[in-house]
Assembly symmetry: C2
Homo-oligomer: 226 residues x 2
């Protein structure tokens, strides 16, 4: 029974990693679709949503079944809990990638604004946070997880700066309002992806060190005005 249990647990972890790669790719494609105003790329992200949702349902069900099957030891219990939490966070990142892709489709024909470079930097920072959070989980590396937490402010700052720039642009030129509204929502979605990467990093630390870092960090931070 124990051997069977650990084999199942290993397979569950692998499935979570497969899903994570799919979501990482979706986020990268959605950002690329934004910068290149590519309908094809955006549509491929939207088409991939079903696959990610299916992963989530399977992992959720298999994880909860393992609780019942294995009468797990404390250490395994924590790993399953961790997998279930990351599963939820990763699926939500997939949703945000789809949201970004949908908003891209609304602004394909809008004139480009002079703030795309800041978007590129913000998106790159959020994607790096996602990659490192997953790496921290895979390698059980709390130092890497801590480095992710430290970078959350950077993305929040980009988000706050973009909010101001979009506000100014829309006030100065009413032709930018439609693009500006969609870019505001895209910026919000990228910021949420960074937040979720942060959640994963916090959970990795909790998992390895038993330190409850959730909420504490967020509560200390000033609001980014978004």
């Amino acid at each position: 029974m124990q051997r069977h249990f650990h084999e199942e647990l290993k397979q569950l972890k692998n499935k979570l990693l497969e899903m994570s790669f799919a979501v990482e790719e979706a986020v990268a494609k959605a950002c690329e679709a934004l910068f290149t105003r590519s309908a094809t790329l955006a549509e491929s992200v939207i088409a991939g949503e079903k696959r990610i949702n299916n992963y989530e349902i399977e992992i959720d069900e298999e994880g909860h079944a393992l609780f019942a099957l294995g009468q797990p030891m404390a250490v395994d219990l924590r790993l399953i809990t961790m997998i279930l939490k990351i599963n939820t966070d990763i699926e939500r990142m997939g949703d945000h990638a789809v949201n970004i892709a949908e908003k891209c489709l609304y602004i394909l024909d809008e004139p480009p604004l002079k703030i795309d470079e800041r978007f590129e930097k913000m998106a790159a920072a959020a994607q790096k946070m996602l990659r490192d959070a997953l790496g921290a989980f895979l390698k059980e590396d709390t130092d890497l997880a801590l480095s992710v937490l430290k970078r959350d402010d950077e993305v929040d700052d980009y988000n706050a700066a973009l909010y101001c720039e979009l506000n100014n642009l829309m006030e100065e030129n009413s032709k930018t309002v439609t693009a500006g509204m969609n870019l505001l929502m895209i910026s919000h979605n990228i910021e949420r992806i960074a937040d979720l990467a942060n959640n994963i990093a916090e959970d990795v630390i909790y998992w390895k060190q038993g330190r409850e870092v959730r909420h504490r960090i967020h509560m200390d931070k000033p609001s980014a005005g978004m």
Copy 2:
């Protein structure tokens, strides 16, 4: 052991209900703060975030401990899983209430726009969905849960209509851009509260009938453009 287990499970369910009432109140207050432009109300929502976060952490830990403690039967396993899922959704609703309150503070001094009535209707619909989703869980009432699912489109429609109205307002009058951007985000947050109420209703149906309704419904819906 079994008696102890069921007593703990009952207490866990009660704690979730306490938390739900706190979040329901936070959502109501945040919406009221918006309509009355009340800084005091908005600040009280923000001040209440910590209490809700603490509930979430406690329920999460106690729920997972129950998995290990009780070697639960299938029916109890499902209830614990359900509680843990609702816990996450309710805490996120609390976050959205805080987001709404924060954005209210940014627009206290902005002139009122002529779309507040639509916001009131949307907020009322989302709050009713939340109340009924929690009622469906409490009373194990799948009919009530199904009625929640049917109302999600209504809130999405309000959200899409508000998007168009805000777009027009901002294009016509640049003085409305700051308020409009914040109201766009508030509308998004209300829509997310309705989505999360929908999640809870789906989970109640899955719990009582074993039917997997998650994702399926959302995938069939057209995007609301937000």
